[in-house]
């Protein structure tokens, strides 16, 4: 079943008064259980695209549909469904976690959202403990502030917050790019496990092709706001049809003998 769908999506920003077309007429669909990777260089429009898919940014033209219903002009119930069903993890946990909130409150925040049933609030403490356990933060107290944690731990807090409303789609926007290489593998493995155990549909944005190959079964290659290639990850890696994709794949550093 198609969960998220982009139809003729277009986004134009104004920068210093001049229009900049970040996304150009994109069609894309994400089915339930998909693990979709979106790759491309910086400025290719990946983040803009996923923010529109999550309903956090209005497209200039085109439509985003969640479970077949357009987000633009959605009624209150449809919007609630979107907010409950689609959650995002951002690139830099330093700016995605409020520095003046304790991590327990950060993780619990979505449970107190007006789109959630009120009954959920009574079990917020237990749910936070469960989520912290899930993201392997069981040895961290919920009353510490984000600055007291390491980069990897902070990103786990961000993942726990995204999982709090039990979403069906998790959008990770360069979720491991800001982390040290040593921590990156741990967080990637955590996301892989969570996708499997929580039955998540994953949209994973990255400029790192190796990471996408490890995590995603389908991938989309973007350049200058346009999808230049899409298909099965292994098929694209084996036989890229677009020049840009081929150059991207060729630029991945390899150790001798690999």
């Amino acid at each position: 079943m198609t969960l998220l769908e982009a139809r003729g999506l277009d986004k134009t920003y104004r920068r210093s008064g001049n229009p900049v077309r970040a996304i150009r007429c994109i069609d894309l669909s994400v089915a339930s259980g998909d693990r979709l990777g979106i790759v491309g260089e910086s400025g290719s429009g990946k983040s803009t695209l996923v923010r529109m898919l999550a309903g956090l940014l209005e497209p200039s033209f085109g439509q985003v549909l969640y479970r077949g219903n357009p987000i633009n002009g959605a009624n209150r119930e449809q919007l609630r469904e979107l907010r409950r069903g689609v959650q995002m993890v951002f690139q830099d946990p330093r700016s995605s976690l409020n520095p003046r909130m304790r991590i327990g409150d950060i993780i619990a925040e979505p449970l107190f959202s007006p789109v959630q049933p009120r009954s959920i609030r009574a079990h917020a403490v237990e749910r936070v403990a469960e989520l912290m356990d899930l993201v392997e933060l069981d040895d961290v107290a919920p009353n510490v502030y984000p600055h007291e944690l390491s980069g990897g731990q902070r990103q786990r807090v961000a993942i726990a917050r995204a999982l709090a409303p039990a979403p069906e789609v998790l959008i990770a926007d360069e979720a491991v790019s800001a982390l040290d290489v040593s921590v990156r593998a741990h967080v990637l493995n955590l996301i892989t496990d969570l996708v499997a155990t929580q039955n998540l549909t994953l949209v994973f944005v990255s400029h790192d092709l190796t990471v996408v190959r490890h995590l995603c079964d389908r991938m989309v290659v973007m350049r200058d706001g346009v999808i230049v290639e899409q298909g099965r990850t292994e098929a694209i890696h084996a036989n890229p049809t677009d020049d840009y994709t081929a150059r991207l794949l060729a630029s991945v550093p390899r150790l001798p003998g690999h």
């Binding site: 919007l79 995002m88 995605s96 409020n98 909130m101 409303p165």
Partner: protein
């Protein structure tokens, strides 16, 4: 050095607050009792001497600290309570709404507090501490709006605000839970600076007869009343002048010290 500024400011402010608290609990004599001797030098009965009407100078200075703090607290509260929410709204607005709010702030900013005090006094039929507090408070709103808006724009661009929106929260929750706690440090610094400005404005308005009425001792009015004796009894004008300068300097230094303490970018530079 940075901490020295903070401590110097905090000490001066603490002295003003202490004077105010002492005046509530104890006074050498009633500050409004007229009698003899007039223009007396310091003595056991009158630690700082008396003025031209024989009123105790020390008692009047202590009670003057009350007016100074009262006007500061009320004026800064008016400025913060109105200016901070408007600044947050302006920070979160786009297009016409943001333009109307900020240009409105510019208009109020261009309107002198003195003129506002005269208008308010005329509207109420007489000048009072209330009209001075209201005029000073209203004139500090634009400064609060500007600093809050600038900080709110930064906060609203953070991903944790995006995450809150994604979780289904509206602007009210985001303003209270995310923006307000993160703009609080700049509001605190602005409050401290505005306090100094308010004290100076109150002293100026009282000096001009547009502030605290003659029955309530105020440092500005004490300078006004000492004008005729400035060549013979300089202490009558100098002592309240020193008090005003110390209070204004104290709040300004405290504001600077707090800014240095709370602004992480400045902290990095000094390392």
């Amino acid at each position: 050095m940075k901490r020295a500024v903070l401590w110097a400011g905090a000490t001066l402010v603490a002295l003003v607050v202490l004077a105010c608290l002492v005046s509530v609990a104890w006074l050498p004599t009633d500050p409004n009792t007229v009698g003899t001797p007039t223009l007396a030098p310091p003595s056991a009965d009158h630690p700082l001497g008396t003025d031209n009407l024989g009123r105790d100078l020390a008692a009047r200075l202590l009670v003057g600290a009350r007016s100074c703090l009262l006007v500061g607290v009320v004026a800064v509260s008016i400025g913060a309570v109105i200016g901070v929410p408007l600044g947050i709204i302006a920070g979160g607005s786009r297009g016409v709404a943001a333009t109307v709010l900020m240009r409105g702030a510019d208009i109020v900013y261009a309107f002198p507090a003195l003129l506002l005090a005269i208008l308010l006094a005329a509207a109420r039929g007489h000048a009072s501490t209330f009209t001075a507090m209201a005029a000073i408070g209203l004139s500090t709103i634009p400064a609060f709006m500007r600093v809050t808006r600038s900080a709110a724009v930064d906060v609203l661009a953070q991903d944790y605000v995006m995450a809150a929106r994604g979780a289904g929260f509206g602007l009210g929750h985001i303003a209270l839970r995310h923006v307000l706690p993160n703009v609080a440090p700049v509001v605190l610094v602005q409050s401290s600076s505005a306090f100094g400005v308010a004290i100076l404005a109150e002293a100026s308005l009282s000096y001009l007869g547009l502030g605290t009425p003659p029955t309530t001792p105020s440092w500005g009015r004490m300078i006004y009343e000492a004008q005729s004796f400035v060549y013979s009894d300089i202490q009558l004008a100098a002592l309240p002048g020193i008090c005003i300068a110390a209070a204004v300097l104290g709040f300004n230094l405290l504001g600077d010290g707090l800014r240095d303490l709370l602004d992480p970018t400045l902290r990095e530079i000094t390392r």
